[in-house]
Symmetry: C2
C-alpha cells in the first residue's frame, strides 16, 4: 500500500459507466511511447502503453473509486513544485493484461463521445493488438506502431468538421498524450 | 443562428445525465463575478453568474448536443491566437431564469462527484438564491455574495482530506472559475 493510499480515502460515490465515459472524455488519456532502446548493445523496440486519469489532490480521491471499479491499476501522488499548482493524484494502468482484458473492452462497450479522445482510443486499440501479436518486434511493425502513436496525437480534418479548425501536427512527437 | 452554428453540426451522440455529470466534473465551470459598477454615477451592485463548458473546436460539436439537452444557453466560437493552441467552442448559460429553473435543479438531482466542483456548485446555488431574492442589492448582501464567490474558488481543508494537500487561497480574486 503506497503512502497515498494511507492518506487518502475513497469518496462516497458510486461510479457508473456513463459517468466514467464523461470524466475520461474530459480528463482521461491514452498514451503510447514507441522508442528504440539501445542500452543493451542492440536495438530493442519498446512500445509502452498507458491509460490514465490525473486529478488535483482534492478531487483525486475519486481515482480510488475508479481503481476499485476497474479492479486494476494504481494511484500515485504526483508532486507539483510550481507555485500555484497543486499536487495531483494519478491513476494509471500500464500492464498489457489489464489494458487488453479490462480497459479496452470497457471503452469498446461504452463508447467515448468526444472525437479526439475517441480517435486516440481507436489508435491505442490498434497498437495494443499489434503488441499482443508481437508485431512491433520487427522493423516494419515497429514503424507502424510509431506511426499510429503519432496519429493518436493529431487529428485529420474530416469533411464534416469546421474548416476553421486549426489542426496542429507534431510530427516529431511519438509519445502521445 | 451564429456562424459557428452554420459550420458545426451536432455529434451523433445521445447524452445521459451521468455522462453530463462526468464531463462537467472535468470540464465544466460555475463562475460568479460580483463587482461594483460606478459608470452610472452611483454604486450599482452587479452579480453575474455563468455555467459553462469549453472544449476544443473538434470536440466542441458535443456542446450543441448539450445545448439541445438543456434547451437553453448558447455556443460561441472562442478564438485562440496563441501558437499551438486551437480555437475553442464555448457553451454558456448566463440568464438567471435558465440557471435557476434548469441548470441548478439538474445539478441538484444528479450530483457532481468531484469535491471542488461540488463545492463550487453549492456556493453558486447560494448566490443564485440571494440574487433571486435581490439580497445582493444591499451592501450586506453584496459583500456576502462576494464572499461566497471567493469561496467557490478556494477550498478549506476538511478533516477527512489529506493533510498534504496544498490549498491555495486567492483572496483578491472574486471572479471565480
Amino acid at each position: 500500500m503506497s503512502s497515498a493510499d494511507n492518506q487518502q480515502g475513497r469518496l462516497n460515490e458510486k461510479l457508473t459507466p456513463d459517468y466514467i465515459i464523461g470524466l475520461v472524455d474530459g480528463e482521461g488519456y491514452f498514451s503510447v511511447s514507441a522508442y528504440v532502446d539501445k542500452s543493451q548493445g542492440w536495438n530493442s523496440h519498446n512500445v509502452k502503453m498507458v491509460f490514465g486519469v490525473d486529478l488535483n489532490i482534492i478531487d483525486g480521491r475519486l481515482l480510488y473509486n475508479l481503481r476499485d471499479y476497474f479492479g486494476c491499476g494504481s494511484v500515485r501522488l504526483k508532486k507539483d513544485k510550481r507555485e500555484r499548482f497543486s499536487d495531483q493524484l494519478q491513476f494509471q494502468i500500464r500492464d498489457m493484461k489489464s489494458l487488453t482484458e479490462i480497459i479496452i473492452p470497457f471503452f469498446q462497450k461504452y463508447q467515448l463521445k468526444l472525437p479526439k479522445k475517441k480517435r486516440s482510443f481507436e489508435k491505442f486499440m490498434e497498437i495494443a493488438k499489434m503488441k499482443s501479436a508481437k508485431e512491433h518486434i520487427g522493423e516494419k511493425g515497429f514503424l507502424k506502431a510509431q506511426y499510429l502513436a503519432r496519429q493518436m496525437h493529431t487529428f485529420s480534418p474530416l469533411r464534416d468538421y469546421t474548416p476553421t479548425a486549426t489542426l496542429k501536427v507534431d510530427d516529431d512527437i511519438v509519445h502521445a498524450i
